[in-house]
């Protein structure tokens, strides 16, 4: 049974010109690390939240979101709670916003255990101490009694991770877990997440707008644009030879970590907002390869590449385009 299987998930909000998610299909096996890359507003966070049944109440949702076989679309409170307390959990982007500022760290960690599993305070606190130690915080008994404002951003993100691990999940959803942090602590948090993932055999969905980061830490990567998956590939291959014009654009606009700094080529135009819609490929208006009358006419489906069946792309011209090696692939 696949750990997470999202099948043609479409999410529409009243008043928006295009769906927030448009037939998103995504698979994540147990123990696999999958990246979800895209610009702000591309639907990455909504996709991840769907795996916890956290879609906006006003949204019209079709498709399926299977977490270990349980469909969360239209699920009742009991099934949602089952998934949220024991199967999947999320590390949110900004721990300052995500942890209640007026309650102690100990309350944050023990609350779900006591409320949903009926543990005693003593049991829950013992578990919280283990968790704080597991995420590498120096003084767990003291942190338990501290308030969020007494901890640095990096330490607080460790608390957030400890909280996500409290229910022994098998699926960890990480929504830009380092974006709100100082550059110096970002690497530490990523290393921690990687270590926990390997040690516990977690399936992990890593959301990021940093394509290099995704390539370095994931097994496979999905690229999203305007609510759609536009490309899927093993991380190294995606990075070495992106096929979808949008992915090429993303890589061309990322400064290389090593080697000479060449002039960056930004993707022209702006990402499509929820107030805009296009009959064809959502990227056509910004795409240098777009073919008038075809790309702006109907939307391409996400299809496996004939040359590489483990990769897929949603582009009519993917087979015709030159196969560029943007940079050499890196581990």
């Amino acid at each position: 049974m696949t750990l997470l299987e999202i099948d043609a998930l479409t999410v529409e909000l009243p008043g928006a010109a295009r769906p927030v998610l448009d037939a998103v299909t995504l698979r994540l096996a147990a123990g696999e690390v999958v990246g979800l890359v895209g610009e702000s507003g591309s639907g990455k966070s909504v996709t991840a939240r769907s795996a916890l049944g956290l879609l906006p109440a006003r949204a019209r949702v079709t498709g399926r979101v299977l977490v270990e076989g349980r469909d969360l679309v239209g699920a009742d409170a009991a099934r949602l709670r089952e998934v949220r307390t024991g199967v999947a959990s999320m590390v949110f982007q900004d721990p300052r916003a995500g942890i209640n500022p007026v309650r102690r760290i100990g309350d944050f960690l023990t609350e779900p255990l006591r409320l949903t599993k009926g543990w005693s305070r003593r049991e829950a606190e013992a578990r919280a101490l283990e968790l704080l130690a597991a995420v590498g915080l120096p003084d767990p008994p003291r942190h338990l009694r501290q308030y969020p404002h007494q901890l640095s951003g990096g330490m607080l993100q460790r608390v957030m991770i400890a909280g996500a691990l409290a229910g022994e999940p098998r699926l960890l959803l990480c929504d830009e877990p380092t974006t709100a942090l100082d550059v110096s602590t970002q690497a530490e948090i990523l290393a921690l997440l990687g270590g926990l993932q390997r040690a516990r055999g977690l399936g992990m969905l890593l959301i990021t707008h940093d394509i290099e980061l995704a390539a370095a830490s994931c097994d496979r990567v999905y690229v999203m644009y305007a609510g759609r998956i536009v490309e899927q590939a093993p991380a190294a291959e995606l990075f070495g030879s992106p096929r979808h014009p949008y992915t090429r654009g993303l890589l061309g606009s990322t400064p290389p970590l090593t080697g000479p700094l060449e002039r960056l080529r930004p993707v022209p135009g702006a990402p499509m907002s929820l107030a805009e819609s296009a009959p064809g490929c959502a990227f056509a208006a910004r795409c240098t390869f777009a073919e008038p009358g075809r790309c702006d006419h109907s939307a391409p489906e996400l299809l496996p590449l004939t040359a590489a069946p483990d990769r897929s792309a949603a582009c009519f011209r993917v087979a015709e385009l030159p196969n560029p090696a943007v940079t050499e692939a890196r581990p």
């Binding site: 939240r49 949220r84 900004d94 995500g98 209640n100 007026v102 309650r103 609350e111 949903t116």
Partner: protein, 318 residues
Amino acid sequence: MSVAVALFRKLLGMAVTLLVTSFLVFSSLYLAPGDPVSFLVKGRSPSPAELVAVRKEFGFDQPFPARYWHWLDAVLHGDFGRSYLFHESVGAVIWARLPASLLLVGVSTVLIAVVGIGAGAFSALRHGTRTDKSVLLLVTVGAAVPSFAAAVVLRSVFGVRLGWFPTIGNGTGLLDELHHVALPAVALSVTFMALVTRVTRASMLDELGREHVEVALSRGAPRGSVLRRHVFRNALGPILTVSGLLVSGMLVSTAIVETAFGMSGIGSLLVQCVDELDFQVVQALVLLVVAVFVVVNTLVDLVHPLIDPRIAAGGGAR
């Protein structure tokens, strides 16, 4: 900073506030038109010599600073002087009327807290629905109704037409007193209830949109617990501050309601003594009102760090 030091600072601040107020109160009454002597000798035609004697007896012949000093000295020793009107010590006059007003304020406070916070929370949880809009409309109307208008309507409907409640007096015995205080308390609290409802609703909506609420839900906590532990709990700060301000200022508003309902209390006493130029009582009452205001708000300040640990116990946000 330790809690003891913080407490000492608060108490010092309270003392200074009260001292400044006492000076303002005393000097404003000194400047007010009308001569208390003319009231004292009302109905008689005293000789100039008798007038001088009366002035001397009450200390009206002394210069202002000396009079203030004497008065302050006496007040600090618990002596607020004698009422010209009641021929009794001011302390006794106020003491006799205080319980009725405290009951009125107490019942109103409970009404404000229960109805105001309840309606606000109810409305916030149904944000955007017809129920929410109806509550908002009621609140707007409620906030616009002055207590004397509410008093007239309540008396005529529930007192006279329906005869459910007495329309005048204080009552005897706790149950009877509560029966008597019901309508005045509603009249007194309508406006305040409306304000607390609005603040509660706004504060709850603010907290409902916070990410930590979504995080708590994402971890499987039941919605009811999340609303209680994360939304309402975090919304308490502004609610407490506003309620503190309103309740501490309520003693003044009792003047209108007690007069309208023919109750004997601090408020109606204040009106009466201002009318009759009974300065000693007025001074003591104003000081009392200010003292209550300062004490209640100091208490709110002291409780605040318990609600929001980001506010240091010494006052001032981090």
